[in-house]
């Protein structure tokens, strides 16, 4: 490997695709997804984090990505199809540092057989190596070799060669241990980028994650998934969103029937790592991202026939799974694979918990979080009593959203369940 004489001092780098290829069949969503995967390839080996900036965000990103042709105001004019394919600028304080340019006169492809066009993911991984401070390498299997070597396979399966990893770690050190308990399994691989859509297909309107009111929230192998309608967002253990834009539910969870429109609750089952998604009186079991078998009735977990759930979570302290509906909850013993007797019980036993929460999840640090609307209630590890300062707005802590201003319409926290014992509160009809 060869190192340029510069590197980034910060560990979170922002990026944005400013212009997209005009003469390739790749949609903007596919290009963005490929760029995300190409950056993640370097992030996984270095602890660097990459945050995509929204197109409306006025902030200048560290890595600005353009598809340009011929002379494009830098000292590396492109030369039409073939020849030079792309270039990137090394780290530094100059506005152009880190920026990455692709020749728009190439036929950029994803997932094509070798020889058809130029694989965008492979070239992007190479160029981002420059954007992080690596020069060209002569090592036989390095992605930093100067000549295009063809596609490198599925983006979410690709791993850097040893030469590239060593060069990167010269610059940024080894991957730091995350402060969280190490998840027992690798996070789920991102879904492959979407197939090329017909050029003028309308893109679906996506919900605003900062509105909260999620259908389900689950800690799946260290990542927090936020489900809303046919979409979901992913929060990495580092606290960074995989992307500010949501991913498609049915594209990721392979085999989830199309008629399942809303996920009401979700959790990762500890003994075997399966992931359970709940909708209506049924739930679906996934092994990684693939559906395993037919849907199961909620009665298997101890709920009465026809009942549905608002929230489900697995409590590491006792290996039990809690299923909440309204102000009541059931408990299921994963080890014995049977419902616990003596349920349902009143949810007020979780002191301070909100009635009918959107979902409940246990963080990597072991604290339990009840979510409802745009707020969360934190129960410290092992406790069934909410923090006294609960609820708190969830946007700033979980979703990289601004703190809710004191606007009159900003969502107020729903009232928590009553504390156990008698109370002399007088509830107004509209409270």
């Amino acid at each position: 490997y060869a190192l340029s004489s510069s590197k980034w001092e910060k560990r979170t780098l922002t990026w944005r695709v400013r212009s997209f290829p005009q003469s390739s069949a790749l949609t903007a969503e596919t290009v963005r997804t490929l760029m995300h995967h190409a950056l993640s390839t370097w992030g996984i080996e270095s602890g660097l984090r990459f945050q995509e900036l929204d197109s409306q965000d006025p902030t200048e990103p560290d890595i600005l990505i353009d598809f340009a042709r011929a002379y494009h105001q830098d000292s590396y004019p492109f030369d039409g199809q073939g020849g030079t394919l792309a270039h990137a600028f090394f780290p530094g304080e100059h506005p152009i540092s880190g920026d990455t340019h692709f020749d728009d006169e190439e036929t950029w492809t994803y997932g094509s057989k070798d020889g058809e066009g130029t694989d965008l993911f492979a070239v992007a991984v190479h160029e981002f190596g420059h954007a992080l401070g690596l020069g060209h390498s002569s090592a036989p299997n390095s992605i930093m070799r100067p000549f295009y070597q063809g596609p490198v396979g599925e983006p979410h399966k690709y791993r850097l060669s040893q030469d590239d990893r060593e060069g990167l770690q010269q610059l940024y050190g080894k991957v730091p241990e995350t402060p969280y308990d190490k998840p027992t399994r690798k996070p789920l691989a991102p879904a492959p980028p979407p197939p090329a859509l017909p050029p003028d297909s309308p893109s679906l309107p996506v919900p605003d994650r900062c509105d909260g009111n999620f259908d389900a929230i689950a800690n799946i192998r260290g990542e927090i998934f936020f489900f809303k309608g046919p979409w979901f967002w992913r929060l990495q253990p580092s606290g960074q969103l995989v992307s500010p834009r949501p991913a498609r539910l049915h594209r990721f969870w392979e085999g989830l029937p199309a008629e399942v429109k809303v996920i009401q609750a979700a959790y990762a089952r500890h003994p075997d790592g399966r992931i359970l998604l709940f909708s209506g009186p049924q739930f679906w079991v996934f092994q990684d991202r693939q559906l395993e078998g037919a849907p199961r009735p909620l009665t298997e977990l101890g709920l009465p026939a026809g009942e549905e759930v608002d929230a489900v979570f697995s409590w590491p302290l006792n290996g039990k799974t809690y299923l909440i509906r309204g102000g009541r909850y059931w408990r299921y013993d994963e080890a014995a694979a049977r419902p616990d007797p003596g349920y349902p019980r009143d949810l007020s036993l979780w002191e301070g918990a909100p009635h009918a929460p959107d979902d409940v999840s246990v963080s990597n640090a072991g604290d339990t979080y009840f979510f409802k609307g745009a707020h969360y209630w934190r129960f410290p590890k092992g406790s069934v009593k909410a923090d006294p300062d609960s609820p708190q707005p969830m946007g700033p802590k979980w979703l990289d959203c601004p703190a809710p201003s004191a606007r009159p319409h900003s969502p107020r926290p729903p009232r928590a369940t009553l504390e156990p014992g008698t109370c002399d509160c007088s509830c107004e009809i509209n409270e």
């Binding site: 590396y76 020069g135 060209h136 000549f147």
Partner: protein
Amino acid sequence: APEPSAQDVSLGVEWLTRYGYLPPPHPAQAQLQSPAKLRDAIKVMQRFAGLPETGILDRVTMATMQRPRCSLPDVLGVAELVRRRRRRRR
């Protein structure tokens, strides 16, 4: 191998200069490019390209210079190369 034509040599030297294997020409100094220096430069380029390191501007080497690639130079600043060589000698 047949001697490369003058045009090939000229194109080859231009390519090698563009990608950092040879120092950029300087009109005032017009430093001479000794054949040994040119041969070394060709060998380094052949290593990056995964070709046999003959130091000769043969047909395969010339054809490789036309292959799709990244625009950035392969050798970062001749000074950088010298520094590294000195370091290695030490």
